[in-house]
């Protein structure tokens, strides 16, 4: 009987630890991913405002588009503030999944439009779509991220 309880407790502890480690890794992936988007955005902004190198612009928009798609996997259940791990994601990401997924989809859609504009080589349109992309970052962050 004692052995049974020990085994049970050991299993429970292992499971808890595994989940905690997992959440930590997932939050780290999210943070690194978001930083990668920020880095690409900064690079794109500077290239559009400066040298206007089309090849570079296309590389940045493709990267943002790719990361926007990946970002849909960055918010698994259990990686919010209740995980006990530091994160700027608010509980609303998971308590308001419909609103959150819509805000995230707006970003993904806009990243696609941005990349299409850059691929066409039209820099004015690229800049306009880039301005709209900014609104989708802010739209989601204002609602679903702590200050």
């Amino acid at each position: 009987m004692k052995a049974f309880w020990f085994a049970g407790i050991a299993m429970a502890l292992t499971a808890t630890t595994a989940v905690a480690l997992d959440a930590g890794d997932q939050i780290k992936t999210r943070r690194e991913g978001m930083k990668a988007i920020g880095g690409a955005t900064k690079g794109l902004y500077e290239t559009l405002a400066g040298e206007k190198d089309v090849a570079k612009i296309k590389a940045y928009t493709a990267r943002i588009k790719q990361l926007s798609g990946e970002s849909q996997g960055w918010f698994p259940v259990g990686t919010g503030p209740s995980s006990g791990i530091e994160t700027k994601s608010r509980a609303e990401v998971w308590t308001d999944p419909v609103g959150f997924k819509a805000a995230q989809q707006a970003f993904v859609t806009q990243a696609g439009k941005l990349n299409a504009a850059a691929t066409s080589g039209d820099l004015d349109r690229t800049q306009a779509e880039f301005g709209a992309l900014r609104g989708t970052c802010k739209g989601c962050h204002d609602k679903y991220q702590t200050k």
């Binding site: 930083k35 920020g38 880095g39 955005t41 900064k42 902004y45 405002a49 970052c137 802010k138 962050h141």
Partner: protein, 212 residues
């Protein structure tokens, strides 16, 4: 008798107003926040020049004293017109903090990568984010120094020594044996104005050249 010249008084009140404005503009009005920062940068450059070449009470050599001077003042030694030895260090600390704050702001990047200081393109995203974190941290330090500054003004006020009036009028009631303010020649003022305006204007042009 005169204690603060007009440039020092203008510097002081413009700086106070711009710090308040910068704080107001830091979240949703970053265009204005940047402009305010460029103006503060110009004011600081002017103040550094005025600290070397300005009127007697503005000069660092007249108010930055060693620990001996500060301790003597704390034990009740009289202080001449202008910053007392303790206040002098408060001024030096505020100026140094503001210079660091401006430098950090120039390299700061916001989390979405769209808003940044005019020198942020020289650093990568992570460094720019670090500068932004430092900019926030140093702001708290600045607020602490401003609170100390206001508390000191209140403390002297309780002892019937008005520090606010002289910063408005430039005049203080004469104290025995105090030396009269030695104003600086006008050409030195012009040099300071050119230095300050060049700094602000240069940052503004840099910003124009690097923004969409």
């Amino acid at each position: 008798m005169r204690v603060w010249d007009l440039p020092i008084r203008l510097f002081h009140w413009l700086l106070a107003a711009l710090i308040a404005f910068s704080w107001w503009a830091h979240e949703d009005h970053l265009d204005w926040h940047r402009l305010s920062g460029f103006a503060i940068a110009g004011l600081l450059v002017f103040r550094l020049w005025w600290g070397l070449a300005g009127s007697s009470t503005a000069r660092f050599s007249s108010f930055v004293k060693g620990t001996g001077g500060v301790l003597a003042y704390l034990r009740g030694a009289p202080a001449g017109p202008g910053h007392n030895p303790l206040g002098g260090w408060s001024v030096a600390a505020m100026l140094a903090t503001l210079i660091i704050q401006i430098a950090l702001g120039l390299f700061s990047v916001d989390q979405d990568g769209f808003e940044s200081g005019p020198l942020a393109r020289l650093v990568d995203f992570d460094t720019g984010r670090l500068a932004a974190a430092g900019h926030e941290l140093v702001f708290n330090l600045l607020v602490g120094l401003i609170v100390l500054h206001l508390l000191a003004i209140g403390w002297y006020g309780v002892q019937r020594k008005n520090l606010v009036g002289p910063m408005i009028t430039g005049r203080t009631t004469a104290s025995d044996g105090a030396t009269e303010l030695e104003p600086a020649p006008i050409w030195k003022l012009l040099v300071g104005l050119i230095l300050g305006l060049t700094t602000s204007g240069g940052l503004f042009m840099l910003e124009r050249a690097s923004s969409l």
